[in-house]
Amino acid sequence: MSIFARGAFVMVISAVSAGTAGAADLTIGLGGAVSAMDPHYHNVATNNMVNRHIFGRLVDQDAKQTLMPDLAESWKAIDDTTWEFKLRRGVKFHDGSDFDAKDVVATLKRIPSVVNAPSSFRIFTGQITETVVVDSHTIRLKTATPFPLMPVFMAGFAIISDEFETATTDDFNSGKAAIGTGAYKLKQYVRGDRIELTRYDGYAGTKPAWENVTIKQVTNPAARVAALLSGDVQIIDQVPTADLERLKKDKKIGVSSVVSNRVIYLSMDTNRDQSPFVTAKDGKPLAKNPLKDVRVRKAMSMAINRPAIVDRVMEKQAIPAAQFLPETFFGTSKNLKVEKFDAEGARKLLAEAGYKDGFAITLHSPNDRYPNDEKIAQAVAQMLSRIGIQTKVEAIPFATYSPRATKLEFSFMLWGWGSGTGEVSSPLRSLVATYDREKGNGPSNRGRYSNPKVDELLATALRTVDDAARAKLLAEASEAAIFDVAVIPLHYNINNWATRAGFSYEPRTDESTLAMGVKAAKR
């Protein structure tokens, strides 16, 4: 073949491959499932992630979940119970209408009124007792009690145009009402399959690199990796840990990782005198529940070799955890260190608590929820058995696990917690605050842990508007809870994304996959 012919051949090939996917197009392989295009219907990570392409929020979160101005230019607390948000001028919705205070009012009205919402966004707006429109671009939100988390909560939901205040979920799914201020316009939503987006040229922020974006739902992990390898998609999230090493070696693939806001932890029944799955080794009931003794809990924590779990079970896709969130997040403590593995010390402590011969316990775990959840539980069980706590693992699907745990049927459980707010009050309030239905405290406190000192510090923190003072209080509350072994933190997951060569992704702690964060990498 002459050089000329070869050159022509190469040109034809590259023309063909360019033709299949335009230079400015992007296809994302998404591990999660999306249930609706209505941004106020289902508060779940995948839905929120997709609607961030289409809708703006008052406050945005960057890749590390630090608050950023979006539709609100600035915000401040003007007194203890009033927050003022200055809205950005010159922002236009996809249909050309102007954004102003009335759209915020309409959004706040619509959120509690969405019918059949399986997970309402009211949790972000319920604290607002009054909305005052000062002028077209200034809005004040009043609360009954001081509410320092207001800006954080305003990052939780999308702002819609007031034209669609009464629109139904179907109107959003069909695209009729899916008119936002975001970087992308909704072209088509095919339920259970894909979402097609086109770039919005009037977007107020940084123009994203991709003109057409397709978000494909590829929930099977092996299929997701195959789709990436074959070039059907350019980026995938939730990369299976088993494939990671191979993908890293592949020159056609790039991997980006960041530690996530999700902690994997063990929760114990520290409340009941007789716990259903804690017995003596011969199966007879114990005089009292050993998990109520802090020494026993401490011994259990010491018996767990976290680096080994991270190395072997998680294949290094995790970081040993000392508290509820990695240290870089707001309100974490600098004094808490990862519990050192010390089987001998654990045995001594256990003997001191009066359990020289140990006892028997069942560790319940989901087997389809968190990366390697069942294997982690198995590893923990072996480590505890070594110090004399005979541990049996029962791993069941999350659909059965979660309702049973909520009914307090278990004694010892494996759970994960991702902090959507990106600060420590979220896990403290949900996981270790004393269960209180009226105050909304401890909804996920399934061991019914209770510690007045933690409650007190947390309550004060949640009233403290000054950021520095609140961070200190939250750190102290974390310390109080961890010193008392309210839960046993194991590790923080690492989030991974894999991209084709020529693409790069800025990894996000909140596990979101956003087309805006995908860049054309320099080769």
């Binding site: 399986p118 074959s230 239905r437």
Partner: protein, 325 residues
């Protein structure tokens, strides 16, 4: 014929009723879907509100009664997860699955019957033996593995075909179909072949067995003695006779391909009904599960009915009114 029809219809109603009750109680026993649907950050009051909104706070019998009442008016409830009518969600997914099922059936018939006939006609030849050996592979290899291998070979290494999803669709008679676009076919080929593999093996074996049995029968000898061409003997007389078991099995298999193509649809991210039922089970989305199984049962009843009619066409000795069930 009319008696046959009425009897069938009455049976269908009883089966549907029993089915809905079993599924309803079964899903209720597994757990509360709200635990899966609701954001973990939601507080207790919000949880109670969501439970009430979905009607999950009522006692089981009352929930079932409400369901029955609505079902009689054709409303099978709204999906907990999607918020849309369950029936609508399933119907939306149906064209994708039907396409896949028909393509898979087509492949298994077009490939399976000729191969089976050859293997039955020349059982001792190399070709006949090779076909039979191949059909064992079709039976024994797990669909899951074959699917991934197909993707690895044809999508990842050769890059000939796409690995996931459905191709471009065009609207035909109100349905979104992808079999009328080239892009659609490239997406359809791998999953359809994967799904067809097992049926193909089944068809080959059935056809071969029928072929060998029939070739020894008197009517074949008679036809030959009468001086009919070998082609006419085999393709008209023998073929007709071996089709009865093949049609029975294909009918049942068509039902299962449509209803339970779960593995293939999951691996290839094919947005069909099989993937829907798996997702719904994982989320305990009861309205969708119940509606889905009711539709599936209706479909099986209908297919069995068609198969019975086909019998009477293929074999005039079979009389419909004599059929008891």
């Amino acid at each position: 014929m009319t008696v046959f029809l009425i009897r069938r219809l009455m049976q269908a109603v009883v089966v549907l009723f029993a089915m809905s009750l079993i599924v309803f109680v079964g899903v209720y026993a597994i757990g509360n879907p709200i635990d899966i649907l609701i954001s973990p950050e939601a507080d207790q009051l919000e949880r109670e509100r969501a439970i009430h909104a979905l009607g999950l706070d009522l006692p089981l019998w009352e929930q079932y009664f409400v369901f029955l009442q609505r079902a009689l008016t054709g409303d099978l409830g709204r999906s907990f997860a999607f918020g849309a009518p369950a029936l609508q969600i399933i119907v939306e997914r149906m064209p994708a699955t039907l396409e896949l099922a028909v393509a898979a059936m087509g492949i298994s018939i077009l490939v399976g019957i000729p191969l089976g006939m050859w293997a039955g006609f020349r059982p001792e030849s190399f070709g006949g033996r090779a076909i039979m050996a191949g059909s064992i592979l079709g039976f024994s290899l797990p669909t899951f593995w074959v699917g991934l291998m197909l993707i690895m070979v044809f999508a990842v290494h050769l890059g000939w075909l796409p690995s996931t999803g459905r191709g471009e669709t065009v609207e035909v008679l109100g349905l979104q179909l992808s079999i009328f676009t080239w892009n659609g076919w490239t997406h359809l080929l791998l999953p359809a072949f994967n799904l067809a593999l097992f049926k193909m093996a089944l068809v080959i074996r059935l056809t071969r067995a029928g072929m060998r049995e029939n070739l020894l029968m008197d009517y074949v000898k008679f036809a030959r003695a009468k001086g009919l061409s070998p082609g006419r003997v085999i393709f008209v007389h023998v073929l007709k006779n071996i089709m009865i078991p093949v049609v029975t099995i294909l009918g049942l298999e068509l039902g299962s391909v449509i209803a339970f193509a779960v593995v293939t649809e999951t691996i290839f991210s094919w947005p069909g009904m099989g993937k829907l039922i798996i997702d719904s089970i994982n989320q305990l989305d009861r309205p969708v599960i119940v509606a889905y199984l009711l539709i599936t049962v209706s479909m099986f009843i209908f297919i069995n009915f068609v198969v019975d009619i086909l019998y009477s066409v293929l074999d005039p000795r079979v009389r419909l009114k004599e059929m008891k069930s």
